[in-house]
Symmetry: C2
Subunit: 359 residues, 2 copies
């Protein structure tokens, strides 16, 4: 899922997301950011997030839990919820499972995430247990408030005329427990006991070692229900995606393609290309000769380097587009290779090619 | 002509320029900027400006004369040419009629402008005469060097496979003379004596009163050859374009649609809309209800205001797109109304509508 934090996948027009070379079926919006700005009253007045931003395809919203947790010293967590200061205007705000469900109902996203608490990657087992148990209680409160809102028609996502949108929201649970296998297992069991439409692994890619991340994924993935979507939150590089798919993950979100696109770093089938490098000054090849995206079909590394060096907006726009195309196309190939039984071969060749350093 | 200073119409993909709602047939590149960065050797190595930027439609390049003149104290003008310091790396550079023609041949633009000198809007008649006479001598030198380069195959603009591109460059002369009618007339006569493919009015919109600009245009336009393109450089607002067309002008370039797009100001058929205004916070109308551009068909004022307020790139991208659509569509309507004999009616109604203040 491309990340559309504030109701926009940064630097990318919706027409580009819908075009054949990207064809993104779902994007992510951040509850925290949209709640603070433009605010729920504005989005409600405009008929929900789909209508507000002009996007008829699917939307997933996170719960705001991770964002307020990331505020560090600026937030205070209690049993009831999290109190924090808005980064926009400094006002004191309060986010809880109930508020998060209400906000996400007003946004009308197709997939709603429970309000969770994240423990640091290096949390002790006691800290991690306390956090995991809080997450379990919050998951239950999220589920209850969500169900009430669905009954009462709180969901604003219904779009008349949209082909692909039911308007009925789905709710995903989140497995926490830091790097501790027994906590992860317990978290998954308690989350499944409540019952959700899909299950996510949270609290990874938050500063822990890569080996710890894979250890946790290995441990928990085999217990995740295979007949429901399994979503690894906030991960990752192209290598990470392939390795996570090999372990059973179905869904991802990550800012890498868009954030790195704006800082001049392209992902290609032959590894990363730093667009700023002087070696591309007169290189008329595209970013990725194996790529059929509209940027690679039209523009050279030399031109992209010039745009980046001159500080032109178009640099970020074009590199972001290519990066999104590369990520989305990679996962299209993953799905094809799974269907044709050739995923192991695809995985081996894909990882091998990435080591070519963009040459 | 949308302005593509450094080889990009800021914030706009070429696919958008080519789409039906914009359908820009020609864009402008700045010789000064492209010469300094990425430099002519780079563009030459990439096969000329069309290939370098990935644009097969027409390109006009200015001569660099106006840009180096704008440097003020940072440049020194002599009979031979203009010495100045690069704003990119501080290096000492020298631009002359010959160098400008060589650079524009290497760029391979379809329309080349002579290297001219501009007098300030309030120049005394002596200053303005000296400047106009220098421009006349530089025009002759431009013509001579241009003709040599065309004979010797210096033009890099030939694109095999491009339908709309001949590769043979056209050269336009520029009429100077500040606000003095007799100097403008003499400048035009001397420019026509040399002979060019088109004629431009330069040295307007450089700080003089609007009434002075119209007075000069009124005086000189009736003497411009009507069977060749007449190009008013660097002008202007939608009102200016209509009023200039009424006086016989055929071509314009202006940064207003793109620059104002990036600062949140939209041009509409009912006047300017300042996207930042709080009054649009929940306004679900498009920027311009009379506009059929892809932005107006999809996005509301409320969303554009949110994007601008949140500092999102997409704000500038979308408002720029709408502004370009509005300018290009206005001139399409102008051409239709001229063909159908209804330009006076169109002019009256267009100007009337602009006074609605965006409501």
């Amino acid at each position: 899922m491309p990340v559309g934090t504030a109701g926009t996948v940064k630097g990318t027009r919706f027409e580009a997301l819908e075009a054949d070379d990207l064809d993104a079926r779902i994007i992510l919006g951040n509850t925290y950011h949209l709640w603070l700005r433009p605010g729920i009253e504005t989005i409600r007045a405009c008929g929900g997030l789909h209508r507000f931003i002009g996007w008829e395809r699917a939307l997933l919203t996170d719960s705001g839990g991770f964002q307020v947790w990331s505020l560090g010293k600026l937030r205070r967590i209690s049993e009831e919820g999290t109190e924090f200061r808005s980064h926009v205007d400094g006002s004191l705000r309060f986010l809880s499972p109930e508020v998060s469900m209400e906000v996400q109902a007003a946004l009308g996203s197709d997939i709603v995430m429970v309000f969770d608490e994240c423990a640091p990657g290096q949390a002790t087992i006691d800290e991690a247990r306390r956090s995991m148990e809080l997450t379990a209680r919050w998951a239950k409160r999220s589920r209850e408030r969500f169900d009430e809102l669905q009954r009462d028609g709180g969901d604003l996502g219904v779009m008349s005329g949209a082909k692909s949108l039911s308007g009925a929201q789905a709710l995903f649970g989140i497995v926490q427990g830091a790097s501790h296998h027994e906590l992860r297992r317990e978290s998954l069991a308690r989350t499944r006991e409540i019952g959700f439409d899909g299950y996510a692994i949270g609290g990874l890619s938050v500063g822990e070692e890569k080996s710890v991340m894979w250890d946790v994924i290995d441990g928990v993935m085999q217990l995740m229900p295979a007949d429901q979507p399994r979503y690894l939150m906030g991960v990752g590089t192209p290598e990470d995606l392939i390795e996570a798919v090999a372990r059973g993950v179905d869904m991802f979100d990550c800012v890498l393609p868009t954030r790195n696109g704006r800082t001049g770093q392209a992902f290609t089938s032959r590894g990363k290309v730093n667009v700023k490098n002087a070696q591309w000054a007169t290189d008329t090849r595209p970013l990725d000769e194996a790529c059929q995206c509209s940027v690679c079909l039209r523009h050279s590394r030399a031109y992209l380097r010039h745009l980046y060096t001159a500080g032109e907006m178009l640099a970020g726009i074009l590199i972001t587009h290519h990066n999104l195309a590369f990520f989305l196309d990679t996962l299209r190939h993953v799905r094809q290779s799974i269907r044709s039984g050739e995923f192991p071969k695809f995985r081996r060749e894909f990882i091998e090619r990435l080591s070519a350093n963009g040459e």
